[in-house]
């Protein structure tokens, strides 16, 4: 190159104008090519209807995502066959093979447990694959992000594993529905059980994951143990993914606390619990009491990662495969025979969500989000493993019994990590809708 042109204003203007003209000339006729005349987004054409399964396939929650996907595939089989597994025990008998005369097919996407990736993947399923409903996810940040997106796009979102209050509280949306429980219910269920086992007047130390779910879980635990005079010694925020928690654990030894609440989930829970036990917290005597550790939200898949350390430690869970009601038994049998191991709570909640959506669409006679939503609102059902359940219309949250579980002392297999200590009845964990704030707003049909 012998000569170089400087960036001159004239050149910019000249070429810039050309670019603008070129852009203006491009036709806009395909602006909404994906919407059609049926009155709602992605109205199914032909004899199939598409579900979008948006689960973490890479990242820390990939194993949970894989289990969710297994459950979804099984749910689709059962919906198309009009029976099998927990669909047989489901109280509503409307599904008789397909939905509204259409067979279900599905597309999958990887959320990577990142809001951006999850939204992008949900958008692909809506814009490119024509998904009528999006479901899945295994963290609250992602669930809230995708729920907001589905509201804007005009499809139904059936959230998967999301435990934060905000999903059906502050951030609730008309198009979004949650089967899983939340930190409020965990607190309400755990409080009395903890008091029964550990008595009144305890000094509690909170280690809390430094993000929204952690704050919300910490708040509920404090609120529901206060009546028993459990006093908070300290609440310490820990960085997400800290790995080594030793620097947060050693101060507990000299803090005078006799109870440690680990408001951690996933890898953080595995690591902090393993390390807390290593530091000899579990066997200590403080204030004349046995030192106690509580993990408010358990996941069996993750509890396996903590090995022997979970023994005797209380927590809550949405569902557990050892339940002996007809629905759970049927579900475990179908899942176990297909895959060779029992399903996780993530698999359970996603299976339920798929079935519930299918049933609601069948009862509504259409896939139109507002109609399906109305069919789900205040729908009461049974036979899906949690006893009688209500999909509350005012916040699109399921209300059901909550399981309080404990790490099993003598596990018989590697799946047998938790035992159900108490089933807290639904009435005890219900709360008024105003408590968590937020507004549903109107349905969006796209």
């Amino acid at each position: 190159m012998s000569e170089h042109k400087d960036l001159t204003r004239r050149r910019v203007i000249k070429s810039g104008a050309a670019a603008a003209a070129a852009a203006g000339a491009t036709p806009y006729f395909f602006t909404r090519a994906f919407a059609d005349g049926h009155g709602y987004m992605n109205a199914p054409k032909g004899d199939t209807v598409t579900f979008g399964f948006n689960v973490p396939q890479t990242g820390a929650y990939a194993d949970e995502g894989a289990d969710e996907l297994r459950a979804y595939e099984m749910a689709v089989e059962h919906i198309n066959a009009g029976g099998g597994g927990m669909l047989d025990t489901f109280s509503s008998k409307e599904l008789k093979g397909g939905i509204n005369g259409k067979k279900v097919k599905f597309v999958t996407g990887d959320t990577q447990t990142k809001s951006d990736a999850a939204r992008a993947s949900a958008k692909r399923m809506i814009e490119n694959d024509g998904a009528i409903m999006i479901t899945g996810g295994s963290s609250s940040g992602v669930a809230i992000a995708v729920q907001g997106l589905c509201q804007e796009a005009g499809v139904i979102f059936m959230s998967g594993l999301t435990h934060s209050n905000d999903t059906t509280g502050k951030d609730k949306r008309a198009n979004g529905f949650r089967h899983f429980f939340n930190t409020e219910m965990t607190g309400a269920a755990l409080g009395p059980v903890l008091q029964n086992n550990y008595g009144n007047d305890r000094k509690v130390y909170h280690l809390t994951a430094d993000y929204t779910w952690g704050y919300s879980q910490e708040g509920s635990m404090i609120k529901y143990t206060k009546p028993y005079n459990w006093e908070t010694v300290a609440t310490v925020k820990t960085p997400v993914g800290a790995g080594d928690f030793s620097q947060f654990i050693t101060p507990i030894l000299s803090s005078g606390a006799d109870t440690l609440v680990l408001n951690h989930y996933g890898k953080d829970m595995v690591n902090s619990l393993t390390q807390a036990v290593q530091f000899g917290l579990a066997g200590k005597q403080v204030n004349g009491k046995d030192f106690t550790i509580v993990v408010p939200l358990y996941s069996r898949l993750m509890a396996q990662g903590a090995g022997d350390n979970v023994k005797g430690i209380f927590g809550s869970t949405n569902w557990h495969w050892s339940l002996q009601d007809e629905g759970s038994k049927a579900f475990v049998k179908a899942f176990g025979e297909k895959y060779g191991f029992p399903p996780s709570q993530a698999a359970h909640t996603t299976y339920c969500q798929a079935i519930l959506y299918a049933d609601a669409a069948q009862r509504a006679g259409t896939f139109k989000p507002s109609e399906v939503g109305k069919a789900l609102e205040d729908f009461e059902f049974d036979g899906l493993g949690n006893g009688k359940v209500l999909y509350r219309g005012s916040d699109h949250q399921c209300f059901k019994d909550v399981l309080v579980v404990k790490g099993k002392e003598n596990p018989t297999s590697k799946f047998d990590v938790l035992e159900v200590v108490e089933v807290t009845p639904r009435a005890k964990v219900e709360y008024p809708v105003e408590l968590l704030g937020g507004e549903l707003g109107p349905y969006n049909n796209g």
Binding site: M1, H4, K5, R32, Q57, K114, K123, R124, D210, T212
Partner: protein
Amino acid sequence: MEKNVALKDTTLFFGFAAVILLLPILLEPIGANYPDLLQKIAIFGIFAIGFNILFGLTGYLSFGHAAFIGIGSYMTLWSFKLLTMNVVPAIMFSVILAGVFAYIIGFVSLRRSGIYFSILTLAFAQMCYSLAYSVLTPITNGETGLQTRAIRKSSETSLLDGDIRIIDQAFGVQELGVPTTNFFGMAMSGYTGFYFCAVLLIVCFFIAQRITRSNFGIMLKAIKSNQNRLNYTGIHTRPYLITAFVISGMYAGLAGSLMAATDPIAGAERMQWTASGEVVLMTILGGVGTLVGPVLGAGIIKYAEQKVSSWNEGILESFFSFLPETLQHFMANLGVLFVGEGWHTTLGLLFMIIVIFLPGGIMEGIRRIGAKFSRKKPEADTNAAAPQPAE
């Protein structure tokens, strides 16, 4: 020669503009012609072009550019929440703020070079990420991400949960629920959103082309080839480097702003160092130092993330259905290693192959093939030379 270069540039520019604007049609055969992916390609194209101004021209490898994406996104969201849903002020503020941050971070980081520079930028970006995720939750809404809301009913509602939008309110705009972002009434979602991003991408491409050809660009390349010599000749290189850093930071801020404009949410994970790593991958994959390469790389990576990740076992089984059943299962099982949940493996491998065999990225591959067919000696374009990043 000068005329020749100018002509080539003009051809390249118009060719590029045409291809970008025709993307919705061109990408149809591979199933990538839906608005979100197209928007992402354009946005990350801007990001990668900007990154290339720093890395491709000066050889300074920044591992912290994702921070500017985050800053742009948060600023845009706050503009939506406080001022107006119109994207113009949002984009302006974002680019300016990203530039300010880039100046501060660049001013400090550019006191060092080589891997020390990389680690410094990485450290700054990780600090931004950690703080945004936790301590700065009142500004960033932490893990949940900052979102636009309906107009708040009372001043007791926190600004995170209710917006005020002073300008829109002053003009008496009636809002139903949460309004969509717009460009003077044109909604920023769908294909309109893509064309908006595409026009900006073309403008950014044009500016980058001008910069590359300018004296300033030559100076940057001189820094890359031998900074010491420049220093000895009495040229103070730091102002040039800082300018390049700020420009590329502003590009990143623009990209972040557009991400939030087409999809109004901003989360801290955009700032994580892996996000910075992604733009490095894009640039390398397409071709460092070339103008078109980074955009190409951005397109390929976004396509892989969206489409390759969705090729699950079922799709593989049907793809291999022409094979006998046992072979079909075998192929499907093998395939799962590379597509669907295994798409990261493909990305990693592809990346290694590129760095090992084609250091100039895909653009160099195209040129080599082109040279073979035309039987002509490849043009000795400075852009085309294999990258020699400074150490």
